[in-house]
């Protein structure tokens, strides 16, 4: 029996994948579940499993090559079966640049082992809510509903959402010509995704920025005390994550997503923590950060960051955040403005902690200070709202015992 090996949609936003390496070679016996290859997606390196038993008769897309989701990458069959008809359909050559608006890719019949959440469908993995009509139209058009944001009640995907998703965004064409002495480096999947998403973010989202300077003396003392007492190293960023999460509970207006015709205010708080990786950056998510102890946050952040750097993050580990934090303090950046991760309402850019001369209790002194800048989506958050949120963040950082509440 012939089993086609196809490029599977291994992440909600994946449109194409690059075969990083084949773990089985032509002629190897494989059975259902065996890992055939490692595939580089827009987010991470994923495993491509065999969906049938037999011999891996042909590899159609070689290691290093990229192909669209749904295309043939290999064929599993019996040792003597004629696979000519199947292979003839072939995979797709990688295209340089994108001059045409990409159509929705062929539907992948198989889902990744972990449950996927549709982007914009809220926290929690599981069933996609879509009206029967939306499902039918999506099915007819080969549109993967996990890629569609639902504007109906409780994130239900309705027909207009499917219609909108089928309308492809305009693509940029490569500029013609140019000076001599240059080198084109093909975009990695991660780079492509970052470019796409953040371009989509900055242009339509009306950003405004609020900066506040925070006195970190007490936070430093608390951190030292905790680290002395415990076995898990708490970083300043962990404290910021916890404080921001708790502040979001008090300022629900900042814990929201833009839904197009509504603002979704979340009941839960999930913080995306930006992590630098070789190719760029990714934001693993600390779920329910407001309810987790500093220790738990520290452990989880550390674990997820490691997985991120190893390109092993699963989709449900990097989607679903309701607010994000980016920290460039370790690079001595005093302050900076971050781009909001759509569809979130805001992102906090954390700068370095620097001993700074300030007036404190009436005298000049040197205290460790940190500047944080919040980028706000003005459609969701107004100046006063954002300012009040930052006041709370600052208050809690300056009096860390507040975390205990």
């Amino acid at each position: 029996m012939i089993t086609k090996v196809v490029m599977e949609a291994l992440s909600p936003t994946m449109e194409e994948g690059r075969i990083a390496q084949w773990l089985k070679q032509e002629g190897d016996a494989v059975k259902t579940g065996d890992v055939l290859a490692e595939v580089e997606t827009d987010k991470a390196i994923m495993e491509l499993p065999a969906r049938g038993n037999g011999i891996l008769r042909k590899i159609v897309v070689a290691a290093g090559e990229t192909t669209e989701v749904g295309n043939l990458v290999g064929v599993i069959a019996g040792p003597d079966e004629d696979i000519g008809g199947v292979v003839g359909q072939g995979g797709q050559e990688e295209q340089e640049g994108q001059s045409a608006a990409p159509e929705a890719p062929a539907p992948s019949a198989l889902t990744a082992p972990t449950a996927l959440t549709a982007p914009g469908s809220g926290e929690g993995a599981g069933r996609i809510k879509a009206s029967p009509l939306a499902r039918r139209v999506a099915g007819e058009k080969g549109l993967d509903l996990r890629r569609v944001e639902g504007s109906g009640p409780a994130g239900r995907i309705v027909k207009r959402d499917v219609d909108a998703a089928l309308t492809a965004p305009a693509a940029l064409t490569a500029p013609a010509g140019g000076a001599e002495g240059w080198e084109d480096v093909p975009l990695s999947q991660v780079r492509k995704t970052i470019a796409r998403r953040l371009t989509q973010s900055l242009a339509p989202i009306p950003h405004f920025f609020l900066t506040v300077a925070v006195d970190m003396e007490r936070a430093a003392e608390a951190r030292d005390a905790l680290n002395a007492a415990g076995d898990v190293r708490i970083s300043f960023n962990d404290i910021v994550v916890k404080v921001v999460a708790m502040a979001l509970r008090q300022h629900r207006a900042c814990n929201a997503w833009w839904q197009g015709d509504a603002i979704r205010y979340f009941h839960d708080v999930h913080i995306g923590v930006a992590v630098a990786i070789d190719e760029g950056l990714i934001t693993p998510v600390i779920r329910h950060a407001d309810r987790k102890s500093l220790r738990a946050i520290a452990e989880e952040t550390g674990r997820l960051a490691e997985r991120a750097r190893a390109r092993k993050l699963a989709p449900d580990e990097y989607t679903g955040s309701t607010f994000s934090i980016s920290n460039l303090g370790m690079f001595d950046i005093a302050e900076f403005t971050a781009v909001i991760n759509p569809p979130e309402a805001g992102i906090l850019a954390v700068g370095a902690i620097t001993p700074t001369p300030v007036a404190h209790d009436g005298t000049a002194t040197i205290r460790r200070r940190m500047r944080v800048t919040m980028s706000c989506d003005h459609r969701i958050i107004d100046g006063a709202t954002g300012a009040r949120f930052l006041q709370t963040v600052r208050r809690m950082l300056e009096q860390p015992l507040a975390i205990v509440w």
């Binding site: 009206s131 029967p132 009509l133 499902r135 039918r136 109906g152 309705v158 027909k159 207009r160 509504a262």
Partner: protein, 328 residues
Amino acid sequence: MPTITYRDALNQALREEMRRDPTVFLMGEEVGVYQGAYKVSRGLLEEFGPQRIVDTPIAELGFAGIGVGAAMVGMRPVIEFMTWNFALLAIDQVVNSAAKMLYMSGGQVPVPIVFRGPGGAALQLGAQHSQAFDSWFAHVPGLKVVAPATPYDAKGLLKSAIRDDNPVVFLEGEMLYNMKGEVPEDEYTIPLGAADVKRAGSDVTIVCHSKTVAVALKAAERLARDHGLEADVVDLRTLRPLDVGTLRESLHRTNRCVVVEEGWPFCGIGAQVVDDLQREAFDDLDAPILRVTQADVPMPYNKLLERAAKPTPDQVIAAARRVAYLDR
């Protein structure tokens, strides 16, 4: 084309059918000398005499049964209930006798009878005089149930009901009797079991019958003018058998539906419409089907409370906006 009232349309139907077929007779309270409690039978006693226009004592069970017996031996009675509220007294004859006779007798004894009268609420008549029993009768196999909304439909459907060989429950409305509409002079009938699109549109289907047709049409006008939604207003006309085909065809075009009905919500006619559509046209639905019904209370006397209990164009508009995802 002449414009006449719903009342006169019924009168014409009765007159024409009685002239055409000597086995047709009308029986009920005040139908003869009084000229009809709502004047539907005005002038008929003078034309057809007391053996064919029969005034009865107040004995609904009795005269409904007499109608059934006469039908069983080959006549075509039209039994008038002064209002359908009183028909509860006769429901044994409508359901246990008329509806079941053909089946129980193994097909030997048909009952070609029409039970007719005004149903549903009027104005401040109170709890016992305001109920819409549409679904009570539509529930019963063996009956046909008809509810015309316009003079044109009333005449054509009553003629067909009288000619039908089955027991027909014919639901009129006190609030409809004065309604005016165009009715052809030439003979015509309207088949039972066929719904009618009263207004064409492609954004939302509004299903209605009897008095709620006017509510639906008012709502449709405002939906088009103020909300950018063109409604496809489908008047059921016959409740049993239900014309699911026309409903499906409409839903296929609009993908969203609101049902507006006069009765109470639980197990009302709309519940059946919803069941048929969700079962047969699931993939055409972009939103759940919403119903606008009478409030789930006995009808109060006070004018404002009564108005609040009845379905209104505002409620239909709100429901239409929700199924179009204009509101949550």
